[in-house]
Symmetry: C2
DNA sequence: GCAAAAATGTAGAACGCTACACGTAGAACA
DNA sequence: TGTTCTACGTGTAGCGTTCTACATTTTTGC
């Protein structure tokens, strides 16, 4: 089955570095790990040899005894450009460390997480995980874990990084109300993909009530499939008592809402105002001009990575970092009347 | 520096499986690798033990002797949803294999590739690599390699998967001409990110000439930065002899072009027609309605993965797979006049 | 100046797996 | 009957690191 592959030049090993520098293998390892008990002279000598031979430690071998200096990022999907922001933050945090991030994508994180554990990741960042608290705790028992976008914190044995989704939703509703929109509907997701949705729906409900619009509360849930979202929005916009604003749980959905509204020749924001969530780069485009809630993905990624490395280094008490979201107002929700 | 981490339950090893099944470690390894010389009875016994103990082989340990069953994907950027299509194809190809894909993102693949080699990836798929043929050959000498979106094939020691970018560009121009647009400009990238650009520019030139529009050839190059693209497009659209169509090298750029045109209150396609490349999901939206060239990312990903696994299994002669692109016409390039 | 403590370096046993080299038993062949 | 194959299992030496335990040297304290 497996034929012989063409011979490849063998790698430089720690042994060769040691012999080149005239020291022991253990000494080189110490330098590598920045461990205790290394004189400046030794370090310099070893560094010189490593540079000269262009030595790079092999992660698998390191992993067998210690760590691999690899972090796993688990994304729920690659389509949403918001995740790119998170990634930028992760990379910023990794700068000047030995760590490297590897991403995986999966709808149900389960099997991917196992695969990452098999591959000796030193720690995991789960983004918007569709998992119960219990399941996450199980994972955390096996590998240092940080979750971005998970709000169920009872006895969490892992760290979390979130924006305040409840507040974000409230800000969206408040902003719409301030601009004269009353019948604010919310476009949400049918399958509760994560606890994030619950928080946003809750925030929406609370703020609507607080604004005295309790009677207008209207949460419409669409499946994640493109076609179905459009159908759902169309039904909403063609309904007898059409809302005058939609708060969409994600920019991506908001763009679809804009699309349907455009097709129905409704004008935005006069006939229907729209607010999204994530403040993706696409919001800026003139054809969208989408008001959105910014949760600074970059900060989320940066903090999550920071916490993860701390955890790998031994911290066992959980920490929970929260970012305050803010409204970025654009034309799609401008004042009317 | 490194504190003691909380004790984690130790992993099940191949030794425990062997002892549970009452066979040798070597036998278990054979079953694991589907190697020659295993009776059905033995296999069944071992499988049962593995299932019972919930055994999972450790990739690092495997990597030290054989392969890790991990493939590395190198993306140039995460923002472009086109890459998500490629990823879908990759995963389809990996179904029912032991392999798992890990992604990394980097503008200059260099250091990421090194990191992936350090981490014992069995092979690499480089997507739209900004690298010379020579450099890619160097990498291919060290690890099985497939490039998606690389056209410089002289003596390539790796496989490539491409759509016919030259043809794609020709189709775009031809389509625009057929719909009555004459002064077709091309919006390209300032820094030649990959050989893909050259091919598309070449196709544009050739087809323009063939259509008798050689005099109207106009390639405008913008840096990859958002703000600069908008500036470049604005300058183009406000110029004395404004083109009546723009062929954009990427959907993402096309959306920006639409944005600027909208701001300038030009109507699409009457004042300016626009065609993109990649046929991203966003093209479908009513606010974009973007005509685009489809290069079926899913097929690209699938084929690349297939080729890579073949190569890991020992093939050393290069193969080059080409997908034929097609025009997906939408309103942004409709017939005028 | 001498003991104790601190600093610096080394040897060598793992880590979990693969793959080579072999051993054995039964089948096929002459 | 003996001989050669083939199929199936096993023993074990690494793969390239880390890390504990220990040996040696230097510094410190008095």
């Amino acid at each position: 089955m497996t034929k012989k592959s063409p011979a490849r030049t063998p790698r430089i090993t720690i042994r060769e570095v040691a012999s080149d520098a005239g020291v022991s293998v253990a000494a080189v390892s110490k330098v590598l790990r920045d461990a205790y008990g290394v004189s400046d002279a030794l370090r310099a000598k070893v560094q010189a040899s490593m540079d000269k031979l262009n030595y790079r430690p092999l992660a698998s071998a390191r992993g067998l005894r210690g760590r691999t200096y690899t972090l796993g990022l688990v994304f729920p999907d690659l389509r949403n450009p918001f995740f790119a922001d998170i990634f930028v933050g992760v990379n910023a945090a990794l700068e000047r460390t030995q760590y490297q991030a590897m991403q995986g994508v999966s709808v149900s994180a389960s099997s991917l997480v196992e695969a990452m554990i098999d591959r000796q990741m030193d720690g995991l960042v789960l983004i918007g995980p569709n998992e119960t608290n219990e399941r996450l705790n199980d994972i955390a028992d096996r590998i240092p874990l940080v979750a971005i976008g998970h709000h169920d914190l009872k006895e969490a044995r892992f760290d979390t990084v979130n924006n305040d989704d409840q507040l974000g939703a409230r800000l969206a509703v408040r902003h719409l109300c301030q601009n004269g929109h009353k019948k604010v509907a919310m476009l949400s997701l049918a399958a509760p993909v994560s606890t994030v949705i619950n928080q946003r729906e809750l925030g929406y409900r609370l703020e609507m009530t607080e604004q005295g619009l309790g009677a207008a509360i209207n949460i419409v849930r669409a499946p994640q499939v493109l076609r179905d979202v459009q159908l759902t929005v169309r039904r909403l916009l063609e309904s007898r008592d059409r809302p005058d604003a939609i708060f969409c749980w994600t920019d991506l959905m908001a763009f679809e809402a804009i699309s349907v509204a455009t097709e129905l020749e409704l004008s935005i924001p006069q006939d229907i105002a729209i607010v999204g969530y994530d403040n993706t780069v696409f919001c800026e485009f003139a054809q969208n001009r989408l008001t959105s809630i910014d949760q600074s993905g970059e900060v989320l990624g940066l903090q999550a990575t920071r916490l993860l490395i701390e955890r790998i280094d031994g911290r066992s008490q959980s920490e929970h970092f929260v970012v305050t979201p803010r409204v970025v107002a654009r034309a799609s929700s401008a004042k009317v009347g």
